[in-house]
Symmetry: C2
Subunit: 408 residues, 2 copies
């Protein structure tokens, strides 16, 4: 088994490129991590992912516990065999589900503080808070109530590490408690202390059980409170983790993401890989990479694809809406210089037609393009860092759409 190793290959400001070696191959960082919650990336097969240049996937211990159940995957030879993916696999711990099935559910908010009714202030909960949480957290861990059949199961820092090892994941997230952007300072501080105690417990069991080549990531929390983020970053960064992830509430709006990272990253050890959990829209990637993040996972490529939105380097917010009437007779591909199978074979007119007709092939073709776009973006960012011109490159992209869209 090749050991887990990370080394930095180039630097430009706070940004860096690196090589992350796992038992299932090397990840060139900064890397985008497609989300395979249920051991599949929506409409993309393992072959599609490989063709697009995906280096690593992230799956979820909570979801796979529900369906098909961890022992099923273990007995079938682990996640790699199960889903036919031979590259590295990262696994999230269920910490985000403590939020999304708890406060996220009762408060009706997402990670960046806005729910269906828009932006809210601290402790200002929506009126329809009769929704019951599907999770209860105590010092030992979290008890989830299945939304499928009402059954209960307990996640602890220890059993999450054990289950993740059983599944054969390469990069494992420790169990954390993800707080809500609407939680008070007091509540966030108490939760953070617990996340830190859980980190120690996770680390303890991981060091006892993990075979060589596996890596455990500790998770920094602290909401959008500067002192808590700094404290968490120093605490988690100081422990014997193989990598560090930045999780949880990143403020009231997207603009706050950079702010939270500016408080967090300086406390982290230089030599360990840094993962930003669940944040990876194009603008966020530019921000995070510039601030020294190495890995980011996000559902954006397939989420956008479902609504007929194609990533595009010259469109506002990098989004081209294929349903717009202007594409009805457009003979050209989404991006002239893109080498993805969709752009090589389909006109905008055909893609628009498939979305208008509701053909499921449409979402597949859009997902393929959007993932190629992200992988190409990451390759371009790595190149710009190596050539020490990241800031200028980002400036060019934002002003001129100069992303060199050729296959990484």
């Amino acid at each position: 088994m090749r050991p887990f190793r990370f080394h930095i290959t180039a630097r430009d400001g706070q940004a860096r490129t690196g090589r992350l070696q796992t038992a299932h191959g090397v990840i060139e960082t900064p890397a985008f991590v497609p989300v395979a919650t249920w051991a599949a990336v929506q409409v993309l097969s393992a072959a599609d992912l490989q063709r697009a240049g995906a280096q690593v996937l992230i799956t979820n211990a909570y979801h796979l516990h529900l369906q098909p159940g961890g022992t099923v995957i273990r007995d079938l030879g682990g996640l790699h065999t199960f889903m036919g993916w031979s590259g590295p696999i990262m696994i999230d711990s269920g910490g985000f589900q403590i939020f999304s099935l708890g406060a996220g559910r009762t408060q009706g908010v997402g990670k960046v503080g806005t729910g269906s009714s828009g932006k809210r202030r601290k402790n200002e909960f929506p009126k329809t808070n009769r929704v019951r949480p599907l999770v209860r957290v105590d010092e030992d861990g979290a008890e989830f109530i299945s939304y499928l059949d009402g059954s209960r199961y307990r996640f602890t820092p220890e059993n999450v590490v054990e289950a993740s090892l059983d599944l054969g994941a390469d990069l494992i997230m420790a169990l954390d408690e993800c707080t809500s952007p609407l939680h008070s300072y007091e509540r966030t501080r108490e939760s953070l202390a617990r996340t830190h105690r859980w980190a120690l417990r996770a680390l303890d069991v991981f060091r006892r059980l993990a075979p060589e080549g596996r890596a455990l990531f500790g998770i920094v929390q602290g909401g959008d409170y500067e002192d808590l983020r700094r404290e968490s970053s120093r605490f988690i960064g100081g422990l014997d983790f193989d990598g560090v992830a930045v999780g949880g509430s990143l403020g009231q709006s997207k603009a706050d993401i950079g702010q939270v990272l500016k408080w967090t990253v300086p406390g982290l050890p230089e030599g360990k890989p840094r993962h930003l959990l669940g944040i990876g829209w194009v603008e966020d990637v530019l921000t995070a990479v510039s601030l020294g993040i190495d890995l980011q996972d996000c559902v954006a490529p397939t989420l956008l694809a479902r609504t007929g939105t194609f990533l595009h380097k010259r469109e506002k917010r990098f989004r081209l809406r294929i349903r717009n009437r202007e594409h009805r007779r457009a003979d050209r591909p989404v991006e002239e210089d893109c080498t993805c199978p969709t752009c090589r074979t389909c006109s905008r007119a055909y893609l628009r037609h498939l979305f208008m007709a509701g053909e499921p092939l449409a979402v597949h073709l859009a997902s393929v393009h959007n993932l190629y776009f992200m992988e190409t973006l990451m390759a371009s960012l790595r190149k710009a860092i190596r050539e020490r011109r990241l800031a200028r490159w980002i400036e060019d992209l934002l002003t001129k759409g100069s992303l060199g869209l050729t296959k990484p």
Copy 2:
């Protein structure tokens, strides 16, 4: 432009193999024709279809008129360019929609006479017949009311041929009136006479306008009335069509399909290709090929895929339901000897998991397998006919599941 040509290469009883030459390549018959109503086969890309061995697709003049509109496709270079499919393309005329948006809608029935409330007898309509038809038929043609925006448009035998030629289709169906299995003898007879008058009009405009290499198919109707089917078969078979299609109501149950074909096929000219419209479940294919049918289109492979049903040569009615609990831990592929990408890379357990988790990739993987299955079935049938052992081969398949599932 290579001319349209069909010649029979082998015979076994009433069954035959043939080579159908079109401007876009040769079709080895008997052939299965995947349904690309909206210029796409559900979740399968042109590349997927090609890999599976699909030789020809059937699209629909009615649907493409609605979305994106015929002139859009014509101005973009025709259907082949539009959908990225270089093989032959067949196009249906909208005759089936005269039924499905008319009597099929108001009577709540499908082509084989059973609706949501099961089998019905002639003239016995469901009580909820307040549903308005979305089509009105007169001698000139059919006026459709769009279910999208209420707009009206008239299809005539002439303009359907013109539109189909404009779209660049290779094999064109004449406009017919498809009757309901619940229609009386009188009503069916009157409708048939009109279909025959329309056939003459379609033929007339096709002979004037069609460039070399295109083919027009006349459609035999007559419901499940023996004398009408025999009459229609002689009438359509006697005209100057390039091929003949069997359409319309094929009786009250699946068992009647063979009966209707036994009345129809003897009247058809030997030297012309015979297409069976919209019928192509595995059992139907065995029946139809045995009775001398050369081409069949059907949505079965993708329709079954959507419900987690995999075609399988050794299962009852050739269907394996992957959601069944017995597959939860099954490490083996759906079919051990199948060479499709799904069987080569996925275990039953993984496929079941994807369906249980509702991952859209599941339907794609099932569609790929089901189409491979159909293409392999057709290749095996062609081989059995060439070797003059079709009846024995079918018997073996039905008793022992001996379909040689290797890539055609």
